[in-house]
Symmetry: D3
Subunit: 312 residues, 6 copies
């Protein structure tokens, strides 16, 4: 996280690139909504039929049933961008376990002239802001539905914080990734240094990226495992991400969401702890009708997308 | 783990494939037996000289001194298969620290009609079963002797649980891997979701495999690090695995088994904790004659396989 | 760690290779010294102007401002080598948080004839020695300045302990890596088994290397992520390492060193713990002038190396 | 946590006791508000001057400067009680890091007829509710200001969840404590089983209380360390709690709140981890003016309450 | 744990005391058996009606419904004692998750003349034995039913290992406790040093007891929290323990056993981890009929012992 | 830890009290030296025979064989005191695993005028100092020999940091304890907040002491478990501490020191982790001759002090 003008610089980087018609226009997230609640279902329909939701710089469309397509829209002013990145109104709707959003514009000016009568008080204040920024990305992990990042163009600074909090990363051939924070005089503190080592697990490379802020192109991202697939261009990448989202959304939401919860648990715990946890988790989840339906479909050689699973 | 018919389905998948002469016939494990106890030694000899052990669907041969070759034999009926996978009679012989095996057939019917007067009691019962299933694979880790998996054909569902609990994975060009559980409506709970993220460490790929149940072919398995080598076919793979087992079995059992214990410890602990543990471990293990013998052999340019190490 | 003559053998391996003009002559470390203390600064100047420091078998030159080049010199006698590897006089100068060095020669003889009236006392004694050996490499991690290893020729046994404790690894095409300990009858206990699984994260490969002591060549080291780049030969490798060191040293020392501290913290903790830690860390570090300077340079399109950061 | 009518029963227990003029009327919390924000300051004044805040069943008075007295008022109907216990509107005002409150009445009916088409879905739903209940008490810990519980009469079920999340516990002679959950057929899941063992640390007693639901009277509570002081009656207890709150509020808020943050961190981490954390915490907090002011006051033999510390 | 004659000495200590009519005759355990399986139920009846089970030196009686009274009988020879303490045949029957018992007599001689050709092999062998000894007491914790220790006379060495693994400790006025291991030249390694600090939590006292092997009498045991109640003599203690067992056995087995599982989890994890775990646990356990039955009983002012809960 | 004049104030508090003949004159530590190295043995003799070691303000006498009595002497000037408290020259001699001492006087002035060009650099500098202060007390834990604190008079601020790092605490009736830091505007950061909650385990009391800085008298210290015994006056306390030291020093050093190592390990790890660790620890330590000697002595009814154990 950055105090003062640094935060806005990071945002501006992202913004500028896009405003100039650059290759950053389309970092997008496909959110799967299988088993959404009644209310979400309704709004889901609305998304499909009516004018799409308009979240200023976020373009939200209902790509297909159970798949929500959140696109970082071409914002035409800075304020809007802020809200896109740091407020999580949208994500908040998708999953209720989320604290109130952050109004970055209010914060931005505060960061430039941080409040507090002495170093301790300024520190206290800054820690609070850092924690809120972190929370914006934590919500992606806490949302039990898989989140897929389809990256094209530059993914820089906060963009890396964002995509490392996603579950699956696809990118276009023109994509590049940059852990930019060291160049603005700070250690990345809203997710990159915390998650990247657990995402690509090539310690030497992670360190090199973090110490130098150099660009990593698509092929190296694929080779190192930051992304699991690379596609020719933006459109193909997005199509692949949406197809993946559709594929996942055809499966049992109990199976899919239980899988996400337990994969994240395993990342942060020993094998023994993780086995203990999943046993306590699955002692109830195995009593789902989805299991019977899934097995039946397989037995009858039906595709899972022909099966109707209850909402979760 | 799967309630009801799911568990049997997973087994059946594996079984069917093999019964139809498919490519799954030969997932096999080479178990190294260096330093086996007197009793094991004797039976080891027996294995070599006499008709091999016959564990119904497991074919166990004494490939060479100190190397036990456990082959999932082509079972001709379902019961046998169950015992192969879920009972660990054989593994139990290799290392005594193992709880009684599981008679899946008894369990299978129970799962289909789970016992218990209410949800809590059924849950309690299911948790107990999941824990026992987990234990079947835990024993591979708890056995201090290296276990090598030589995979050809399909390695699906329980097969992935099994190979991720092994120490080294080789595969044939025709091998493929599938985290199948999501397709039968459950989160994998006997090892895959817990160990795979620590085995290949490409978070995006692990998630993609677990959410989609798609096949991963041999080359991708090599590229991502699930296997460390790929060979043209089943026979070459098996030969390589046995050669590797022979190579390892020529070395000091104190060195080899201490290495396994500490590598597994390191996987689940911080570097500082692991350094502390190995210091307490090696304060006795360094007092072994194997060290003197090994150094002497190296000094005299003798191969280690000419050295006789005491049983461990 | 090795009792008795094993330790000296490991050292001898390394030594012999070098004495015979072999390919091991140049495992070298580039230490970045941005923001060194006044005293270091002074000696840094001395390094540049005067005859370079001479640490017997270590050749230390001031490659460029803020970059210290530590070269394992061609030592012509065994004692010297010991001091290079196991004493950390030099490293100690670079960072004060370091315990007194180890005089291996004194220890070596002790190990050959370990002190102690019974097994428990010998064990106690050996544990103490192991811990001290470990500490030699821990200091590289504890030093908050990035350490880059530029490897050519063989990197064997203690060499792997050393480079896995470094932050970034580059190597020449002729480099190879060998976890040699199993061949001398012991489990590696001063860092390799503890750090390698967290460095390359290909469990099957790590295990294979540790159980077999086979050589891993440069290409496999790159593919598996042990090194992040491979270069044609020793000179190019070294130039690249020094260029990398120069690049890093041009950036804010607050940003660079905070990044190292937090990357290491993240390696050993969960994401939640790491986010909490960095928030408490950065609440003060964000109040640095480096941030203002860095942003200003970026805004004015100046290179960071034109900026003067205060010592840290 | 309780499904169905259990939750309401627990609430009713508490409620009934109070409605019948019983001895449970006065479980109260004194919240220290030193260094409150401008807005809080303002409302603080309002509290003092104007008719006190009225939160239905919570009676909130401004006991004295920087001390907020929150009293569980004698509610005359069930709904109100619910809001007192499970919504945290008030606490939310005191510290912003808090998620939206819980409208128990909506939940209560849901629990009685839990939503979900199968066991897995009902489980998912219940887990969500349990987590929200837990959060209600977590907020007391997350609030960096010390919270003092002054208990008189019965402290039962949810009451124990509440007071174990507080920092200091005083009680009147007539107080008693009861871990009631086992009597309504469930394991306590919103804090008691998780915190009580870390609060009183007499394992045998904790287990006995949790397995039997027996009452623990004031003297045993003092002897076992659940409370740190016992007073003759409700009024004296409350006066003592308020005096303690006043005493604490006279000290540096940087010192007090840093102390709370680090005491809680120490509870859940090893000594080594805790020392590392406090070092990173205090590297900024030691740069406070409070330190200079406090030392000066001590040097001049002035009482701390004569010192004005800035808001935190 | 003790090598050689030490182990037998510890046993002998316990034995001798009893054989000579000393005050150690009655360390006993009341095991609650609510919700036992069909087979257990049957044998439970047998226990009540027929001649009680006879486990050589263990006297097992069915004190009352759902309560099993296991008494360390006055064994008349050493072998028997061994089996009582170190084999867990009985406990094994009570809960199936238990590995095969230990035949101490076979081990004892082995320990006196430990197997192994060098220090490393003897160490390996000893570690295996220690682990098995530990497992004997771990089973008490792993058994989800509460275990109550009713101590009279001396509780020495292995006795402390035993009672610290129990859930609740009552003792007679004549009881004393002694961490005896230091006097026989070893650090206690089968539970005392690991559990005692988490049981009584008075670090200074725990250390003093462990360093000096001094006796701690009943009053100090009560004051420090090792036991939760002290009674005049053996009979009263036992009656109280049985009454407690009866009281607990009248409650919902889902509630009681879930409570034990979660209390033990909380002991070894942070509050945050424990809250997460119990939420996943209770999402199924709250769907029990016990909850409805318990609430109903309370509402109707019936005692819980009039309610019939299903087996668990 | 304290920035600026605070640190010196804390020291001055302690100092003043003593200079004015106050009740703080005699906080003393008895260090057990069983099995000291040859060099220590020699100096031990010297201690007994010759004029005692003179460490300025530390008075070091050889109370009896294997027991070193370190007394905080009445220093007559401030500098001396600093060295007593913050340098660990003496402790360093007792156990070699210790980093270089701290020259507080150099530091003190630095703290008053902390170095660093901006907040980040001052923070970096302060963190380094805090860590060094912490290390001074950590060495007491890292020393495997038991350390007994015999407290009389006031034990304030740094005194509490010191005694909570000791293994056993005795005090005189006139002793009192004060967590003073909050009164000088900081959170205690060199041990008290980290260790006190694990020493006395009465959360409410610990918090109260830390938030209020109130005095805790001897009786409350005993009741809460901070000390394990209280004696009438300074002399009796000291005699008791020395007698305890003598008692401990008569036992096997392998047993005693292994006990300390494992008790500290247990404090910071789960029971399962601790059992694993002690098994690896004792697999060598059980092979000690001390075990045979101890058992023999017990069998022959000889006191342990008549046995000669080898040095450790």
């Amino acid at each position: 996280m950055a105090a003062g003008i640094v935060a806005s610089r990071r945002l501006r980087d992202l913004l500028t690139r896009r405003l100039t018609g650059s290759n950053y226009a389309g970092l997008s997230i496909s959110l799967r909504l299988t088993g959404s609640s009644a209310q979400e279902e309704a709004s889901g329909v609305a998304l499909g039929e009516a004018p799409d939701h308009s979240y200023e710089s976020l373009r939200v469309t209902s790509a297909q049933k159970h798949v929500l397509h959140v696109q970082l829209n071409r914002p035409n002013k800075r304020n809007a961008m802020n809200k896109v990145f740091w407020r999580s109104d949208l994500l908040d709707e998708l999953h209720h376990a989320f604290s109130p959003g952050i109004d970055l514009m209010d914060m931005a000016s505060d960061i430039l002239q941080p409040k507090g009568d002495d170093v301790a008080r300024i520190s206290w204040y800054l820690r609070d802001i850092i924690t809120r920024y972190q929370e914006t990305f934590n919500v992606i992990e806490r949302c039990p539905k898989p989140v897929i990042a389809a990256v094209h163009g530059g993914c820089i600074g906060g963009g890396v914080d964002l995509v490392t909090a996603c579950d699956i990363r696809y990118c276009a051939q023109d994509a590049f990734f940059q852990v930019k924070e060291v160049d603005v005089g700070l250690a990345a503190d809203v997710g990159t240094l915390q998650r990247l080592p657990k995402v690509i697990r090539n310690q030497s490379l992670v360190n090199e990226l973090a110490f130098t802020a150099r660009k990593m192109l698509a092929d190296e991202a694929l080779g190192s495992g930051l992304v699991s697939r690379v596609f020719p261009d933006k459109e193909v990448t997005l199509d692949a991400a949406l197809a993946l989202a559709a594929e996942i959304s055809s499966k049992s939401p109990v199976a899919v969401q239980s899988t996400k919860v337990n994969l994240l648990y395993s990342r942060d715990h020993s094998v023994a702890e993780s086995l203990n946890y999943v046993a306590s988790w699955n002692m109830s989840m195995l009593q789902t009708q989805d299991l019977v339906k899934s097995v039946q479909a397989t037995t009858e050689n039906k595709e899972l997308k022909t099966v109707t699973f209850s909402k979760l």
